[in-house]
Symmetry: C2
Subunit: 579 residues, 2 copies
Amino acid sequence: MWRVAFFASRSRSHLVWMDSVPKSAASVKKILCEAPVESVVQVSGTVVSRPPGQENPKMPTGEIEVKVKTAELLNPCKKLPFEVKDFMKKTEALRLQYRYLDLRSSQMQYNLRLRSQMVMKMREYLCNLHGFVDVETPTLFKRTPGGAKEFVVPSREPGKFYSLPQSPQQFKQLLMVGGLDRYFQVARCYRDEGSKPDRQPEFTQIDIEMSFVDQTGIRSLIEGLLQYSWPRDKAPVGVPFPSMTFAEALATYGTDKPDTRFGMKIVDISDVFRNTEVGFLQDALSKPQGTVKAICIPEGAKYLKRKDIESIRKFAADHFDQEVLPVFLKANRNWNSPVAKLVMEEQGPGLLRRMENQEEDMVLLTAGEHKRACTLLGKLRLECADLLEARGVLLRDPALFSFLWVVDFPLFLPKEENPGELESAHHPFTAPHPGDIHLLHTEPEKVRSQHYDLVLNGSEIGGGSVRIHDAQLQRYILETLLKEDVKLLSHLLQALDHGAPPHGGIALGLDRLICLVTGAPSIRDVIAFPKSFRGQDLMSNAPDFIPPEDLKPYHIQVSWPTDKETEKNPLNPPRQAES
Amino acid sequence: MWRVAFFASRSRSHLVWMDSVPKSAASVKKILCEAPVESVVQVSGTVVSRPPGQENPKMPTGEIEVKVKTAELLNPCKKLPFEVKDFMKKTEALRLQYRYLDLRSSQMQYNLRLRSQMVMKMREYLCNLHGFVDVETPTLFKRTPGGAKEFVVPSREPGKFYSLPQSPQQFKQLLMVGGLDRYFQVARCYRDEGSKPDRQPEFTQIDIEMSFVDQTGIRSLIEGLLQYSWPRDKAPVGVPFPSMTFAEALATYGTDKPDTRFGMKIVDISDVFRNTEVGFLQDALSKPQGTVKAICIPEGAKYLKRKDIESIRKFAADHFDQEVLPVFLKANRNWNSPVAKLVMEEQGPGLLRRMENQEEDMVLLTAGEHKRACTLLGKLRLECADLLEARGVLLRDPALFSFLWVVDFPLFLPKEENPGELESAHHPFTAPHPGDIHLLHTEPEKVRSQHYDLVLNGSEIGGGSVRIHDAQLQRYILETLLKEDVKLLSHLLQALDHGAPPHGGIALGLDRLICLVTGAPSIRDVIAFPKSFRGQDLMSNAPDFIPPEDLKPYHIQVSWPTDKETEKNPLNPPRQAES
């Protein structure tokens, strides 16, 4: 005798499916037939094999059925706002509002169960196989220097606030000083970025730190971790992952997170054009940092339409103020563009040699300063890949997982608002590259860091670094180079002064990783209860108003904006505008 | 060749200890001898067996030593604020301020590593052996009805706040509705209780919920979970755990979390005193709910001093407004108390029969309303156990772990501020006891619940219940009985209307559990970076002031208290007052 309960009209992996209801038991049949869709029903009966020919090999329980003896309607389902079937198109707002129903879809069940299993395997690898210690670090912390994106939490001490940290960075370094030499945590982190699509105000990272380790050590740990935890139903992960310097990534793919599943690499063809008569190329090359760069769109002549070319050129003009020249090898496609025709006549052979083109290919050519030209072509490379795939060309195999380490980032970048000053390219605790230490006091902008990023299929899924363990160096970088208020970090500097071991670590963005593994369209599809892009929980309607008396213990009050300010505030449109 | 790095002058489990430095290498010896204590040193050399007779069986690496070839001081340690040796007494404030040094103590290392291992075993049990799914639920949520202890987090929408939830209660129920029928999470929870000793504003619970389960199912799951995850170096856990009703716990131990490692149970001796001439006993018994209760302190006559008795009586008078009468069986100890003498003369034989006393025992006797008398004696029972143990009597074996289920709690309690109204004894989602459903509409105060507590050695380490899965019943309890604003919970009520399966769950307080397992004096000793009892991080000085411009995006401002208010506010004494 077998007793099961389930959502009526749908099978669940651990439940058996009823095909046969004994005709004698009319009342049982009535209960089961009349139960509204998605109600919860309990039946008792005998599990038997399905009659020959009626097996369903596509169902986990497709070989059996239950001869039902009793049936009970445990809880009926009221009218549904939508049907819980994957092929039904629902707006995302509706799905989020009725998340408890959306979670019943087989896709959400798959995503969340896979997430749980993958994290469990990661824990086994770190904790059981490699001696890591799972340490929980506080989320009620204090503001970090420059922590403008940190949520604040008022305390009962007037004027004093906790901050919800963006990562356990300081704590994990302090744990290294504390002799917990292999730390990991599946850490909840917080970042208040206002409204950004596909970002969540709270997110999860696999947070790792080790003492007495170098870049190679951490990289091979992570490669092993991903290999070990990779789902069995996906193509296995090959290790070691290839690695590329930041400079190479920029020059070849125009980005620090290259999608290496396909080619269309950027080629520097400046030398081919040394004697060009084309105006904008001449101009560019006459400048000190001037270059000519190109990518080759395979079969672009066959698949890209005139309007595609136009939208590409418009994008370059709008976002980069750059000219882009499409050149077709099939001479007849270039008649409309005298410039392209000129290029083919002048530099055709050189171009062909350098780009290794086929007849149906198209070359996208631009000129200008190295970084700018590369970044533009990097974007156009992805844009064209989208276009080609929309026309049925398979460039990026969805079953393929292409990992890549990007290394040797610059330690500092010029500040956006004040390019004369420096800011950390990643964070101020990143150690400088040992080969560049001598430049720290003379040309800090040239110093490479010991930061590394892990990229999967063109998305950054992790980043980390070897950290500074020398208090004096840390103080110099914070105070002299970054002009930070070191008082906010005095505890960390003090800790480094007390025998801090050399250490380094990494954090993997779990939501993004699971999103890529499952092929979900958004990270919201791998989170049980995500916020909308405006940071709202559409199910419970959080955040919500709070009576003023409940704010009193925290010594805060609301500064209501004037009507004028409200109008200007894009974050505060009427509720129904949210999707 | 073996290369290791470590904190100078202390061995770590994975490191070898140097006993022999080749005399030829004077420079190596100099480095090692001159490195300040707690510095980080790296040596390379050859691992060899220690000379016979020099092995140290107490050290994990006591059989080997390293013949050092090179040595390097990786990072020196500046002057220490205290010595990192367990026998050095430090004030807790100092330990918290230099937490990164305190973490190096063998006790903190043991506590945190045991915590990590025990949680890992729990995960294996739940995830790998019992098909539970680890689901992360949001911590930026909305206020729950009556959520006065919830931290608020201002959002960028004027006047709207998130709340940091006290538990994932609503989410785990919604997951059940969503068909994730076995959920668990090691969940970070938040509770703002102001200053309370041995409470933390953020804490961790092992959060579990299951569909299609009854009390027995959850209890045996938890028994298996604890048995499976229990550390090997502790006495094994026997299952099933004994269970006791709330009524029985109150009557026998005067509390809902009895420490069942020792006896001294409360005995109702009202019938013995039916004809007493002692005034306060007569008075008590003449009232409708009047009782006389007693506990027996074994060898109390031998170990308890006059001042102990006095402090016990004072405690009863101060906190319970109750009289307590100590009665010694050794008649000569009672000469100072004519009342005790009278009792022994009148009721001696009856008392002896009921209490099963020995000659050296002492009886503590009180009279009054059942609950009040029991609660008082429950406190005195623990008080006397402390006193006896301070005198060298072993009552509570520290190696013993005594688990107990307490069940059949009342579903509602009279509101403290308004006893005519009801409030939930635990939370409003708790299902009523099936045997008492008929009383819900007539005498709700008599309804027992399907709540259960798990008690270990007198501490509550967990609690849970079978939940209400019927929307109509949930609405009746919220609206009619509890007078709550159901609008705040409309999403949950709606979810129950959409085919919610019967479900139940539990949450175990991880910090408290690990504290009891390790025998740590405070939960702060099993948390890497705890807050002080005033909610401060003494290392980083969180919470901290924030510039007003950083509050602007959140539309809040600080309401600075006037000087008078500050004086009255006990939460805001000068910093140095904190210990």
